[in-house]
């Protein structure tokens, strides 16, 4: 429960403001470590965002007299004291990001936008610089020049891994293949502090296989963000067989600190979302192969019938058909279940180099953006 107080007149503000409306001096942020419940209500009426009822809304009062509202998922009584502890280790951690692909850039954008210092590592100096320019361009849509300058000061780019020594947590988002990922993870780890957490953004490789490359597999787990990480709220979190309890807990805490909703999943192939999505895409491709309907019609029917924002074929084009085929191959290989294997039409598209939006053609043909 943060509050901002004026050092001169002692007025308290509930918002992060730059100054006191009366005294025009900078405010001091206070974060009371504990507060007492002074009033409480059990809420039985669900609303969007608060579907699970009952829950409890408590009016809290800190020792200094600051008041705020908190949501509890369990019953409490007036007079109970709640401890908030010091700010979590996840708050404003220095974060390393490995990889300059779409997800690496999106993650860096998310982290920088939320005030973190970021160490961004990529092997190619040109690709790293191109990704950096694109990231700054994207942030300039939501920040002024001063804020962009501050972001640049919080961003370190490195074509090696040495700068990772200052990171509290490092998220790997390089190509979705086992050996390259293992190599990058192992090299990154040698430069990291021994207490720092290393997470992979893998969408479905085996956590334990990846952990084999590491000296400290207990500090390693999965943070699977969704594209674009700046806007998608889900993070699938998963752990390996030797991940420590504190690392396990940190994954969820860190995801929440980024404004995300972590969902804990078992370290099974493709986790929850891709395991559900890939068969849907594959079946839509099969429908196309069998002439059940045209691509546009399949997508329209799924959008309207299942209330999905985008049809499966258009979504596959957006993800990249090569990525889709990799995930499906991996699912089929690791489960031994051939029904997961990519359909022939998907394979032939990839063989022809039609990888979706990024190449201008997949299940659809994309016109180049005008004026760009």
């Amino acid at each position: 429960m943060a509050v901002w107080t004026c050092p001169e007149c002692s007025r308290t503000y509930a918002y992060a403001l730059e100054q006191c409306t009366w005294c025009r001096v900078p405010l001091v942020e206070r974060d009371p470590p504990s507060a007492t419940i002074v009033s409480l209500t059990e809420v039985s009426a669900p609303s969007v965002g608060h579907e699970d009822v009952p829950y409890w809304c408590a009016l809290l009062r800190s020792e200094d007299g600051f008041r705020s509202i908190i949501k509890l998922d369990h019953a409490a009584v007036v007079g109970d004291t709640l401890q908030f502890g010091v700010k979590g280790a996840a708050e404003l951690a220095v974060v390393g990001v490995l990889g300059t692909g779409t997800m690496g850039r999106s993650l860096s954008e998310l982290l920088l936008g939320r005030g973190h210092r970021v160490v961004w590592c990529g092997r190619s100096a040109e690709r790293l610089e191109a990704a950096r320019v694109k990231l700054i361009d994207r942030l300039a849509r939501v920040m002024d020049e001063e804020q962009i300058a501050a972001v640049q000061e919080r961003l370190i780019t490195d074509t090696g891994y040495a700068s990772l020594s200052e990171c509290d947590v490092v998220v790997e988002a390089v190509i979705e293949e086992l050996e390259p990922k293992k190599a990058v993870l192992a090299q990154a780890e040698t430069h990291m502090r021994s207490d720092a957490i290393l997470a992979t953004n893998t969408s479905g490789l085996s956590v334990d296989d990846l952990a084999d490359a590491l000296a400290r597999p207990d500090n390693f787990g999965v943070l699977h963000f969704f594209n674009p990480a700046t806007r998608m709220r889900l993070v699938e979190t998963a752990i390996g067989s030797v991940t420590s309890d504190s690392t396990s807990e940190f994954l969820d805490v860190f995801a929440r600190s980024l404004g995300k909703i972590p969902v804990r999943v078992a370290a099974k192939p493709a986790f929850v979302v891709n395991r559900a999505l890939m068969p849907l895409i594959n079946e839509a491709v099969r429908e196309l192969e069998e002439g059940v309907a045209a691509a546009e019609s399949i997508d329209e029917a799924v959008r309207l019938g299942l209330n999905h924002p985008m049809g499966p074929l258009a979504l596959a084009d957006l993800i990249g058909l090569d990525v889709v085929v990799d995930i499906m191959d991996n699912l089929a290989g690791r489960t031994g279940d051939d029904t997961y294997a990519p359909r022939p039409l998907l394979q032939s598209k990839v063989a022809e180099g039609h990888l979706g939006r990024k190449t201008g053609e997949g299940f659809y043909v994309y016109a180049p953006r005008p004026g760009v």
């Binding site: 007025r11 308290t12 503000y13 509930a14 918002y15 992060a16 403001l17 730059e18 100054q19 409306t21 009366w22 025009r24 936008g113 300039a140 849509r141 939501v142 920040m143 002024d144 020049e145 804020q147 953006r369 005008p370 004026g371 760009v372």
Partner: protein
């Protein structure tokens, strides 16, 4: 009632920022109060102009949010919404409320950069009729494209005229440190490369959407040497859908608001020395110049082609850069227009100062002319 006076003005930079709405509003409020030489305890009432707090940020009831910037203070306040004219209408309400309240604070504030792309276009489209226009996909570029088509057909207005408006307003914005595109140089080549948004309007015919806030302190009594009288304040309205109006080359509500403001002030268009008009699209500036009587119907292009609407021209229009290049922080836009006029009339506009500015006109439009406000400031 005595003539209302603007005692103080404040404005943030318009443009993308990650500052919260509260921070932006406070910055503008403190600037306006400081400019007026007053403190928070001197405010008798507050009116907040805002359009999209609900759909963009899930935040309605903004007058109360802004009241949170004044902990312990309980004063009358309310929020005004009239789409892109929210700011101008808030000022008009403030002028009327001076019959009861001595000193009134007007705050316009908007955050636009949290929502992007199609969702933002949909939200802005809420200023159009849900049944008559939104259902047909008539978003705002499309609305103003129909206005441009009609103006071209009837008066021979050309895409070159639209480009001249864009080039002028971008050049003016380069002189205004608070403008969205203060640092962006826009050339003919940039304009040529802009994609079609809704034919005939291209990218550089459209204003950006901005984050920002602006504030004014109004009083029925003059205070200090820098206060500026409001000579006329008027609002008018019309059917929301363009299809329900007899004309597409003019906004009857703007003409009516202008007529009322001129009548109150005893002034005529010939008395106006500069105008800030609602150029959400380049065609809108052309229509505005005609609607407020600075040119006869179909003849705004004569002024524009002759350079007479430039800062050093006979009747400078949008010396601030307008919405087109100064930025459009929707609820703040109408309030920001008065910030500009007051700054100009005080002779404090720096590099973009209009020489000999005596009477300023502000023209603020909601939707495609469904609501319009016109204000006249200064003195002969």
């Amino acid at each position: 009632m005595e003539s209302p006076y603007v005692l103080g003005v404040g404005k943030t930079r318009f443009g993308p920022t990650s500052k919260s709405l509260q921070m932006l509003a406070q910055e503008a409020i403190l600037a306006a109060l400081g400019d007026a030489g007053l403190g928070p305890d001197d405010i008798d009432a507050m009116i907040v102009g805002n359009f999209l707090g609900g759909p963009n940020e899930g935040q309605l009831h903004l007058n109360s949010v802004i009241a949170g910037l004044f902990p312990g203070l309980n004063i009358p306040s309310w929020r005004t919404e009239a789409a892109c004219a929210s700011g101008g209408v808030a000022i008009h309400q403030a002028v009327l409320s001076l019959s009861r309240y001595g000193t009134v604070l007007v705050v316009g504030a908007e955050r636009m950069s949290d929502v992007v792309g199609m969702e933002l276009t949909r939200n802005i489209g809420m200023a159009g009729d849900a049944i008559l226009d939104q259902a047909a996909g008539l978003n705002f570029p499309a609305n103003y494209a129909l206005v441009a088509q009609a103006h071209m057909e009837r008066y021979g207005t050309t895409t070159r005229d639209l480009e001249l408006v864009s080039l002028k307003n971008h050049a003016n914005a380069n002189l205004n440190p608070k403008a969205h595109f203060f640092l962006k140089k826009v050339s003919q080549a940039d304009i040529d490369g802009g994609q079609i948004v809704a034919s005939p309007l291209r990218l550089f015919d459209c204003c950006p959407v901005s984050d920002g806030a602006a504030a004014l302190v109004l009083s029925s009594k003059p205070r200090g040497k820098r206060c500026i009288p409001i000579l006329g304040s008027a609002v008018s309205s019309d059917a929301i859908s363009l299809a329900q109006r007899p004309t597409r080359t003019s906004f009857p509500a703007a003409r009516d608001a202008a007529r009322r403001a001129y009548a109150q002030s005893g002034l005529a268009p010939a008395d106006v020395s500069l105008a800030e008009v609602h150029d959400c699209f380049t065609i809108a500036e052309i229509v505005a110049v005609e609607d407020v009587g600075l040119a006869a119907p179909g003849h705004a292009t004569d002024l524009i082609r002759a350079g007479e609407t430039a800062i050093d021209g006979r009747i400078p229009v949008n010396a601030s850069g307008g919405l087109k290049a100064g930025g459009h922080a929707i609820g703040a836009t109408g309030v920001g227009q008065l910030y500009e006029l007051v700054t100009q009339l005080r002779g404090e506009a720096g590099e973009r100062q209009v020489p000999g500015a005596r009477v300023g006109l502000a023209h603020n439009v909601g939707g495609v002319g469904g609501t319009c406000s016109v204000h006249l400031l200064g003195g002969l």
